[in-house]
């Protein structure tokens, strides 16, 4: 389970917070830069406004001086017009001038200028004009000119200093505004670049961490839906995405396992059905043949009067077929017991050599076309169920004879090796086709034997394997189609045993 702090949700929230903080920081810097730029621009604009107001005021003062001087020198009233206009405009200009310097560093200088101009007007200019009207000669005395020049020079000097200071301030503000503007632009470009990089990085992260794994999951799910249960996703992606891929893979693994299990069950069901069909076929065939013989010869005995020798022959056939039926039924019962794990075996000291010798003797008389050759190390003591082991040997010998219909040599060998008793039954008959070899120990499997007219139930080898494995041994074969087969047994030997007393004498399978 993904830790809460390592989950994709937590990562996305953390990334969003970091991104939001960064963007907020960038915008704060930008806002600050823009605000400072605006302030610098405002300062520059106010400095220019102050300069304009000062120049306007200076112009009015000079107009007054010019007008008054014109009147004083010429005595003509029309020349006083600039003075009249300037005096009318002066209060407003002074108010604007003082207001524009109200929050300026040069406010004190502005106030001094205000006083100088006011004094110039009230103490000099207005009295001079009145004097010029009333007593022109008095207004033309040198003192009037000197005093006017003196006052105007003082005012102009103040204006010059003030304008110089304002120019410096305006230049400083303009430089500051330019610097702020450059800083704002640089900050904006840097912020945009950083934001773009962050957005791209975040997008790439989302694509790699979420979109790509999800696309892979979608493709995987599609392939899974199409039946490809081997589909697995690469274990990648953070948090929940990683969990999703792991869960997907586990789901696919379970689906694949379930399908394999279902396929195996289906295969087993099909095999079971096939075995049932074979069983019915085998049972019906194997039972019908001896039963038909029993019924046929019994009816002959009932309908016809036959001599004693013939009747004996018929009765021997009936008995033989009845025994065959009994053997079949015993095989079925043995197979059933083995199936249910109820195959009971005696555990007693036996001599496997004696069992081989006896079973060989039994089968020697059953076929004129076969030669059975026995090679033995004697004794071959072991512990086990002599009748069941005799049943195994009989089954192998019976098969060797049945599957070499042209006759020939059947070799039987028994030896001791490395604590085991090894038994080998070799024929030179039909051999087992390679495709049938894996199923040769399967119950009711007979391969091409039925088609070849070879009788049997297909239970012999299956029962033999159960018996041998129940003794702690093993059974196997090698076969070459057309050349013959060799079946072998390996059974645990009893190194100190004396088994001669318990050697069984069971018959054929």
């Amino acid at each position: 389970m993904t830790s809460r702090w390592h989950s994709l949700e937590a990562r996305l929230i953390a990334a969003s917070i970091v991104f939001a903080l960064l963007v907020a920081f960038i915008f704060a810097v930008l806002i600050l830069a823009v605000s400072q730029l605006r302030n610098a621009t405002d300062r520059e604009a106010r400095a220019k406004d102050r300069t304009v107001a000062a120049l306007e005021l200076e112009k009015l003062v000079l107009d007054m001086e010019t007008g008054a001087r014109g009147l004083v020198i010429t005595g003509r009233e029309p020349l006083l017009q600039p003075w009249t206009n300037a005096r009318r405009q002066l209060p407003h200009s002074l108010a604007v001038f003082k207001a524009s310097f109200a929050d300026s560093l040069e406010r004190q200088q502005a106030e001094i200028l205000d006083r100088l101009i006011t004094a110039y007007v009230s103490d000099y200019s207005v009295p001079l004009v009145e004097l010029a009207r009333r007593q022109p000669a008095a207004a033309r005395i040198p003192l009037a000119t000197v005093e006017g020049k003196h006052r105007i020079d003082a005012i102009r000097s103040r204006f010059t200093a003030l304008l110089r200071a304002e120019n410096r301030f305006a230049e400083s503000s303009a430089a500051s505004a330019r610097w702020r503007s450059q800083a704002a632009i640089t900050g904006a470009v840097a912020g945009l670049a950083v934001s773009a990089l962050l957005i791209v990085g975040f997008g790439v992260y989302l694509a790699r961490a979420i979109a790509r794994p999800l696309r892979g999951a979608a493709v995987g799910a599609s392939r899974l839906a199409d039946g490809d249960l081997s589909t697995r996703l690469a274990q990648s992606g953070p948090g929940e995405v990683g969990e999703l891929t792991r869960s997907f893979n586990e789901m696919a693994q379970k689906l694949q396992s379930n399908r394999l299990e279902l396929e195996e069950q289906n295969e087993r069901l099909r095999e079971s059905e096939r075995l049932k069909a074979e069983l019915v076929s085998i049972v019906s065939h194997e039972l019908r043949t001896p039963l038909a013989s029993i019924i046929g010869f019994t009816e002959l005995l009932l309908r016809r009067d036959v001599d004693v020798a013939t009747r004996r022959t018929y009765l021997e056939i009936v008995v033989e077929q009845s025994q065959r039926l009994a053997t079949l039924l015993n095989d079925f019962l043995d197979a059933q017991q083995a199936e249910e794990g109820q195959l009971h075996l005696a555990e007693e000291p036996i001599d496997m050599a004696a069992i081989l010798r006896e079973q060989t003797r039994v089968f020697v008389g059953q076929s004129d076309r076969h030669e059975i050759r026995l090679e033995l190390d004697e004794p071959l003591p072991m512990r086990g169920d002599s009748s069941r082991l005799a049943q195994v040997v009989a089954n192998l010998l019976s098969n060797a004879i049945k599957y070499s219909p042209q006759g020939g040599l059947v070799e039987v060998a028994g030896e001791r090796a490395a604590g085991d008793v090894r038994i080998r039954v070799r024929d030179h008959g039909l051999g087992i086709p390679e495709e049938e070899q894996p199923r040769i120990f399967t119950k009711f499997f007979r391969g091409g034997a039925a088609a070849s007219g070879i009788s049997g139930t297909g239970l012999g080898l299956a029962i033999s394997r159960e018996i041998v494995e129940a003794h702690g041994g093993g059974i196997g074969f090698t076969s070459t189609p057309g050349t013959g087969s060799t079946f072998w047994l390996e059974l645990p030997a009893d190194m100190n045993g004396d088994a001669t007393e318990n050697t069984a004498t069971k018959g054929d399978t």
């Binding site: 004190q108 200088q109 001094i112 004094a119 009230s122 103490d123 000099y124 207005v126 009295p127 001079l128 004097l131 009333r134 007593q135 000669a137 008095a138 207004a139 005395i141 003192l143 009037a144 005093e147 200093a161």
Partner: protein, 151 residues
């Protein structure tokens, strides 16, 4: 320069408001006050009308309306005609921080200047000029502008 002037103005204003101290003026300065003529006496001697030897005696109350409405001092000016309209004047301006003595010739009372020849108190070490501009005729009111330097 501006700062020095402002300091001097502040000192002058203080000197106009408060009693004189023994401290002399330490730099140049300007005193702007207004004068209201409260008495004018003309002594006609010699030929009738304006003629050399006539005297004009003026008594003036001094104001600094930016600081207070009441008079801050007074002055007296004595002029002796030397011609039909030219006259030679001597005057004393009594201010809170000391006295200023002026002297010189003039023709028109509407606009004239006199030399500041000396003073007492704060003005014991000064000289300069007094420029007088009449801003009202009846009753006569003048603007008095002392431009002082330390001698």
């Amino acid at each position: 320069m501006n700062r020095n002037l402002a300091t001097a103005l502040a000192a002058l204003c203080a000197a106009l408001l408060f009693p004189a101290s023994s401290t002399a003026l330490r730099g140049p300065g300007t005193i702007r006050i207004t004068g209201r003529q409260i008495r004018f006496t003309r002594v006609d001697t010699g030929l009738p009308g304006r003629s050399p030897g006539d005297m004009e005696i003026s008594r003036i109350q001094l104001y600094n309306t930016r600081l207070r409405d009441k008079p801050i001092g007074h002055a007296q000016l004595v002029c002796i005609y030397t011609g039909d309209s030219s006259r030679n004047c001597t005057g004393t301006f009594v201010l809170p921080a000391g006295k200023l003595v002026v002297s010189g010739g003039l023709i028109y009372r509407s606009l004239y200047d006199l030399a500041v020849t000396g003073g007492t108190g704060l003005y014991s070490n000064v000289r300069g000029t007094l420029t007088v501009t009449r801003i009202r005729q009846n009753p006569p009111r003048d603007v008095l502008l002392f431009r002082l330097v330390v001698s």
